[in-house]
Every structure is written in structure tokens, then in C-alpha cells.
């Protein structure tokens, strides 16, 4: 057997890979031949040394792996924090937009009507009473009923609440139907014919803003029940 094969054979013996039968023969040879035993010892020493070097390198590999994992974890954590921050900010930003630019918020902000207090000089008429009931219904966000309750005031142009009732009906329609093209036509017609309500121009600005378009997105239907005052 040449030296090259002998190295492999000894390595096989040292790493416990030799079949049992061959192992016995190998050990018998070591006992019988001191030179061979010495050769095995020398090879064993070198083998052990190389294994030490290998395990040292393996340890470095493990440390490098841990460091890479820690780095990745840190990067993931940073991304998660940033994403959470953006999401929370976006959520509150959208809530704020909704509370100020939604159709309900606009309707509640720009509603027109003065509450009439009864005193000794001024007695409430039936019209005043119905007007108050309509305003109460409106403030309770029951826009459908409020709309119905405002209609009688628009029958006679002489009615003191004629313009206000028309304006409030427009706002009720804005909440219930949205700013449809039909609504916009009626709104513009109202602006052309009645200049008495100053709020209408402010409301128009709000309705034409991008915030109104954001607040009118379909996803906000779930928030439609939230009271903007609470938000």
C-alpha cells in the first residue's frame, strides 16, 4: 500500500468510518508493527489538528450566520416600525379628513337655520315649531326625514325659511346621494338664484376639494356612522 492510500486508510480509521472487520485487522496490525503504530499516531495528530482548524472555521461561520440573522432581524424590525408608523399616521389623517370633509360633516357645518326661542314678546307659530322639529331631525343626522320635513317650507317663496329650507334640502341630498352631476346642477342653480346664504360658497370650495373626494371614497361607508364631533 502506498503512502497516499495509507493516509486515507488511517483517516478512515480515525474518523470511525472503517467497517468492524477491517478495524480489527487494522488494530492487530498496529499491535504487531510498531512502525505502523507510530505512523498512525503521527497521522492521527495531523488529523486532529486539521479537525481543530475546521471546527474553528465552522465556529466563525456560525458567528457570521448569527450576525447576519441579527442584522436581518434588525432591518425587518425597522421596516415594521416604519410601516406601523405610516399606517397609524395615515389612519388618523384619513379620520381627520373624514371628520372635516365628509358629506355628513359638511352638511352639519353648513346647515342653515336659526333656532327660535319663545319669549313674552314673540310667540311661536306652528311654522316655527315645524321648522324647529325639522332642524332637530337634521341635527340628529336623520337626513332622510329632515329632507321631508324641509319640503313644506319650499312651497311658498314668501315663507321666511324658504331659502334656508332649499339649502338644507341640498345638504340632505348631498349626504344621501353624494355630489352627483344632478346634485351639482341643482347646487349651481341655487347659487345663481340665491345669494343670501354666504355659507354656500365655502361649502362649494369644500365639495370641490381633493379632501372631499378622499372622504367620499367607498371605504368610508363604514365610518359614515361615526359622529364627526367625536372624532
Amino acid at each position: 500500500m502506498d503512502d497516499e492510500n495509507l493516509d486515507d486508510l488511517i483517516a478512515e480509521y480515525l474518523s470511525n468510518r472503517m467497517p468492524k472487520a477491517e478495524r480489527i485487522v487494522f488494530e492487530q496490525r498496529m499491535v504487531a508493527n510498531p512502525m505502523f503504530a507510530k505512523s498512525v499516531a503521527e497521522t492521527g495528530k495531523a488529523h486532529q489538528f486539521l479537525e481543530h482548524i475546521h471546527y474553528q472555521e465552522l465556529r466563525q461561520k456560525l458567528v457570521a450566520y448569527d450576525q447576519r440573522m441579527d442584522r436581518d432581524r434588525l432591518v425587518r424590525k425597522k421596516w415594521l416600525i416604519t410601516l406601523t408608523f405610516i399606517l397609524v399616521c395615515s389612519f388618523f389623517c384619513f379620520l381627520w379628513i373624514h371628520s372635516h370633509w365628509s358629506a355628513t360633516a359638511i352638511a352639519l357645518t353648513y346647515a342653515s337655520g336659526v333656532r327660535i326661542q319663545s319669549d313674552q314678546r314673540h310667540q311661536l307659530t306652528t311654522d316655527d315649531l315645524y321648522w324647529q322639529i325639522a332642524l332637530d331631525t337634521y341635527s340628529k343626522k336623520d337626513f332622510k326625514n329632515a329632507w321631508q320635513q324641509f319640503i313644506p317650507f319650499t312651497a311658498q317663496p314668501e315663507n321666511p325659511h324658504y331659502f334656508e329650507a332649499q339649502w338644507n334640502i341640498l345638504l340632505c341630498r348631498l349626504v344621501l346621494e353624494g355630489a352627483t352631476s344632478e346634485w351639482k346642477e341643482d347646487f349651481n342653480l341655487f347659487l345663481r338664484t340665491h345669494h343670501g346664504i354666504d355659507k354656500s360658497l365655502d361649502a362649494k370650495k369644500k365639495i370641490n376639494s381633493w379632501q372631499y373626494r378622499v372622504a367620499s371614497l367607498p371605504c368610508w361607508t363604514t365610518f359614515s356612522t361615526i359622529n364627526p364631533q367625536i372624532i
Partner: protein, 202 residues
């Protein structure tokens, strides 16, 4: 030799048995299996070890070092065909626990009782002896590094049971015969180098 951990990036899923077989077989598959075992189980073992250390109220042992030491010992045992039943994680944790117990025993000179079943053999070196071994080893390593990169790489691949074909391919040699020839020459140099060193005779 490549020491990066890129081989972990796209790894197929193997069972514990298949991984152990691959480690025992050695070569590039064994190399990849070693890292896969570590990647798959180290998080669990680390938590177990941390809990164990915490439970035993010891602040002296670093869990990460213990994870590494016990992993290396486990791989050594697997490569040297030490049989074991059960899971890799429990085996690994058993080794770590035993290493910790031995270390603790040395530090505190308190005899801790342990289950016979959980016993895994670990060398009992005195600190002085360990220091001497480390010094000798450092000297030998310096000499080994002087042999050159090719020698170092070829011998370290051979010790991991890479075939000569794999070594030739990995180190861009002309073929397995050339790889074998270089390995023989390099190993001869290492033997000569260690002949007068008492690195493993202490």
C-alpha cells in the same frame, strides 16, 4: 475555501435523519447539512439554553457561546458515528446542558446530580492545560498558514470528507488525480510540521 453562508439562502427541506446521514457522509452535501441543522434548530435550542441558564440562576455562561460549543460537539459526535435516539434539538440541548453542568461544576466546585441517560462525554481539562493547548495550537496554526491557501483549503476539504472530484472542482484543479497529489504533499508537510510540536501531546 468559501466561508460564507450563502448556501443557506435556498435550501430544500430535509428530515433530521436525512440531515444526519448527509453530515456523516461529509462532502459538500454534508457541509450544507451542517449549516441547515444550525439554521433550523438553533433558535429553539438557544431559547431552551437561555431558560436553563436563567432557571439555574447563572449569569456567567453566555448562551450564544454555549449554543456554538454544543453544536460543534454535536457535529463532531455525529461525524464520528455516535448513535443517538430522538430529536436533534433534544440531543443538542442535552450536550449543551452537560457542558454547562461541567463548567458550573468546575467554577463552583459543587457536585450537581444529573441523570445518567443525559450524560454525554466531555473532556475535563484544567484551565492551565487548556491555556497551554491554546498556545501550542496557535503556534501550530501559524505554521500551518505558512503552507499557503491551496494547502489549507485542500486539507480542510479533505478532512470534511469531500471527494477528490469535489475538491478538484471547487478549487479549480485539473482533476482528482492532481487534487490527490496536492493533498498528499500538503498532508506530509503538516505531519512534518507537527512531528516536533507537542500540540496534542499535552
Amino acid at each position: 475555501m468559501k466561508t460564507n453562508t450563502d448556501q443557506l439562502k435556498a435550501r430544500p427541506v430535509y428530515t433530521d435523519e436525512a440531515l444526519i446521514c448527509a453530515v456523516r457522509a461529509g462532502g459538500s452535501a454534508g457541509d450544507a447539512a451542517v449549516m441547515q441543522i444550525y439554521a433550523t434548530h438553533h433558535a429553539v435550542v438557544k431559547i431552551w439554553i437561555q431558560n436553563w441558564i436563567k432557571h439555574n440562576r447563572s449569569a456567567r455562561t453566555d448562551a450564544v457561546d454555549l449554543v456554538h460549543d454544543s453544536f460543534l460537539l454535536m457535529i463532531y459526535k455525529i461525524r464520528h458515528d455516535v448513535e443517538f435516539d430522538g430529536h436533534i434539538t433534544t440531543y443538542w440541548f442535552g450536550i449543551a446542558k452537560n457542558m454547562w453542568l461541567n463548567q458550573h461544576k468546575k467554577d463552583s466546585r459543587v457536585i450537581l446530580v444529573q441523570d445518567e441517560e443525559e450524560f454525554y462525554e466531555v473532556d475535563h481539562d484544567t484551565p492551565e492545560r487548556q491555556l497551554l493547548i491554546r498556545e501550542e495550537f496557535r503556534e501550530a496554526e501559524k505554521l500551518f498558514n505558512r503552507l499557503g491557501h491551496k494547502c489549507r483549503d485542500i486539507l480542510l476539504l479533505w478532512i470534511q470528507h469531500y471527494t477528490m472530484e469535489e475538491i478538484a472542482e471547487r478549487l479549480h484543479l485539473t482533476g482528482p488525480i492532481m487534487a490527490r497529489k496536492i493533498k498528499y504533499e500538503c498532508f506530509k508537510k503538516v505531519k512534518k510540521m507537527l512531528k516536533y510540536s507537542n500540540v496534542f501531546d499535552l
